[in-house]
């Protein structure tokens, strides 16, 4: 076999005292999808960032086609045909699709006249190769997340990328969008592109990847062909022990109604006539396609976009929730979907992030008590197994999954009456996912009501006592928990009989 497309040898990288990578070997061949797997904080993103030139390794070597490259900075990496699709597309939102593509692909020369026709043609051709139905003139900010991702891939294609790095690209895609993306990835593989693929979703890895390398604590613990290994073995490699992926049992019989929505709506975000109830001790799931209005409904319940129709009842009393502050005062917590945007404050230490929503309660009189704050933070760092240097570590020094845990902890500490979780286990590893599920169950047993939004159908089915399905901005049916996935999908797509009606 010829020299591998990309070969990493004994890479090490430390951030201050934290050793993110300690001697990792890795090989990527042309025309393969190579998955990187590992717990939160194992060093996957760090490895990717070294290959894109965003970070410099402390030691170790990088070779392309068998030739060692010296220092790699982003410009060199780009020139060598290395492209990266970040989870958050790094596009210019105010510019059009073709301008974005042109910015990446055309040489920088301020005096050059712009050939708009050529620009548009090239953009159209690239998008067509991907089978993407996107207009070159569309403004990027009007595109959905997956569409933006496709634009990113188009840029990479146009630049003639031979190595494509993808760090949790499917985290906020629905199933059908994922399938589209996989088709694109397979097409690229056929054309000889080498792809490094990071994901916490094992099903994806088995359906997509040829080989998988598992990282644990900054070290590679083995590379396997996906055809020669099974899920339990992979998990064992990842977490170093057996792990049962069983959802915790539902709690006791649900108690009184905590949260009720009556004909709730908000015209501008397209949500209308939503009615449901959640009881103490109950987890109500919200399933549906992206764009069905689930996040929008969550934002209404939390006062981010106050309802302009209908009403919200908390334990039978009408609650006017016009701002997050009022929602918090009413005992509602909300873990937003997108931790990278506003889930945690990156400049602030873990402890300060965790106590942000309960200042009045733990700091009576507005006087901060650092000891109490630290103790609380340590509790939750332990409970959620947050990998960080300590309560003082700033948010930006945590890996993505660990940031997600901090964002969750911020609301768990408030012990809310109602907790709204929007994709709470997105980007979280299998072990921590189980921890989060058990913790949510324990809190519901203590009387909390939970609304759980998730694109992960197995999670919705495994965790929820009832599943509300949304379509076109309203709640179309409520199914019992532990239903089969097809029933949920059918309701989300608007096929088959409408079960239940509103509760």
């Amino acid at each position: 076999m010829s020299a591998p497309l990309l070969q990493l040898r004994q890479l090490t990288k430390s951030f201050g005292g934290a050793r993110a990578l300690r001697g990792v070997d890795f090989e990527l061949h042309a025309g393969e999808v190579h998955a990187l797997l590992g717990e939160n904080g194992a060093g996957k993103s760090t490895l990717i960032k070294i290959v894109t030139g965003a970070h410099q390794p402390d030691s170790g070597s990088i070779a392309l086609d068998g030739h060692r490259v010296g220092t790699l900075d982003p410009a060199t990496a780009h020139a060598l045909g290395i492209a990266c699709i970040y989870q958050q597309p790094a596009l210019f939102p105010a510019l059009s699709v073709m301008e974005n593509i042109a910015l990446r692909l055309e040489p920088v020369s301020p005096g050059r006249r712009v050939d708009w026709r050529q620009r548009r043609d090239r953009a159209a051709a690239l998008l067509q190769r991907l089978g993407a139905n996107i207009q070159p003139d569309a403004t990027v900010s009007t595109l959905s997340m997956p569409a933006q991702q496709l634009v990113e891939i188009a840029c990479a294609l146009g630049a003639g990328a031979r190595i494509l790095l993808m760090d949790e690209p499917t985290a906020s895609l629905t199933q059908s969008e994922q399938l589209r993306l996989f088709a694109v990835i397979r097409e690229l593989r056929r054309n000889g592109v080498g792809i490094i693929y990071i994901s916490h979703r094992l099903e994806e890895i088995f359906s997509l990847a040829d080989r998988v390398t598992v990282l644990r604590d900054g070290q590679s613990v083995g590379t396997h062909a996906t055809s020669a290994i099974d899920e339990p073995a992979l998990i064992r490699l990842m977490v170093g022990r057996e792990l049962t992926q069983i959802y915790p049992p539902a709690g006791s019989v649900p108690g009184r109604v905590i949260l009720a929505a009556r004909e709730l709506g908000h015209a501008a975000s397209g949500v209308h006539h939503v009615s449901f109830e959640v009881r103490a001790g109950e987890v109500l799931g919200l399933a549906g396609m992206v764009g069905a209005g689930r996040t929008e409904l969550a934002r209404i319940l939390f006062g981010l976009t106050p309802a302009d129709a209908g009403e919200i009842l908390l334990e039978g009393k009408r609650a006017a929730i016009r701002s997050p502050r009022e929602a918090v005062a009413e005992g509602i917590g909300y873990v937003p979907e997108d931790r990278r945007r506003h889930g945690v404050i990156l400049e602030m230490p873990v402890a300060e992030n965790m106590t942000m929503a309960i200042h009045p309660r733990i700091f009576p009189g507005g006087w901060l008590r650092f000891g109490r704050e630290r103790a609380l933070a340590l509790d939750y760092i332990r409970a959620l197994d947050v990998k960080c240097a300590g309560p003082e570590a700033v948010g930006s020094s945590l890996s993505g999954g660990n940031q997600q845990k901090v964002s969750l902890a911020r609301w768990l500490v408030t012990k809310p009456r109602v907790l709204i979780l929007d994709e709470p286990t997105q980007g979280v590893d299998v072990a921590a996912k189980g921890e989060i599920h058990r913790l949510v169950r324990r809190l519901t047993q203590e009387g909390m009501a939970v609304v759980l939004i998730s694109s992960d159908l197995t999670e919705v089915i495994g965790m929820c006592d009832r599943i509300g399905v949304m379509r076109g901005g309203t709640l179309v049916s409520i199914l019992p928990g532990r239903t089969d996935a097809h029933a949920v999908m059918a309701a989300a797509l608007g096929q088959g009989p409408m079960a239940g009606g509103s509760a």
Binding site: G16, S323, R325, A329, H342, L346, E347
Partner: protein
Amino acid sequence: MSRHFREISVVAALALVLIGLAFAAPGFFQPQPLLSLVTREAPTLVVASGMALVIICRQIDISVGSQFAVCGVLTGLLASLGWPVATLVPAAIAAGAVLGAVNGTLVAGLQLPSIVVTLATMVTWREALRWWRQGEFVDLPVKLQWLGLSQRTGQWLLVATALMVLVVLALGLRHLAAGRHCYAVGADAEAARLAGLRPRRVTFLAFVLVGALTGLATILNVLQSPQVDPKSGTGLELKTIAAVVVGGVSIAGGRGSLWGVFAGLLLLACVSPALTHLRVEAYWEKAIQGLIILLAVLADGVRMRKTGP
């Protein structure tokens, strides 16, 4: 890198300069001129503390110089009407707070960019004052200077007041939930809102506070001069912003402390007298101050690159 790296480095730079001066120009350390120097900077310190607060909230207030002039003239006029100091102080603070509230309402209420809003109010207050006073100085009652005490005692009193303001604000910023809210709002206002804080209110209050502090600063100024210059406070915004930036407060908000600002202000303030003692031409002053600011900005850039955006 330590969290307080920037504060420590400014203090270290200040210490180095002072040690250097102790050898090169021991004359710098004569008590009386030194006390006068510090007294002259006392009002600036008070305003800079407020400026730091606003910048931590990721806003900026370039109208402080004009606020200072308006409050100064008002205080002077009230003093010449015979108001006692005990009523002048709250009057000046209230006047400043009102001016700050105008900025705060425009920025927090209407969500306008603070640099534009305060540029507008800066020009407006300044021009209104010129139109009203026609550049006329306000003569102050003789017994007002140094509160009728000896100059030395008066100077100590002013310096002590300014230091007290600094200490109270610095402690508040670190130990009060309200202080924490400033950092949170400055670092990520939307994240702060999602956590149930009130970014708009925090922003509004920061502007009111910087106005009130500017009002208080005019008292510290009025008490050390026989007249109020209606053009006083010109360039105060630049001086205070420079001290804040040199002191390690991130211009992008969310980071920094008042201790650093204190050291930064002293560092910039001792350039001019140090040059005199070293017998260097005075026109180097601005160049050296510029250099200090540049170094501070460079240090921030290096730090940003190290820890990643």
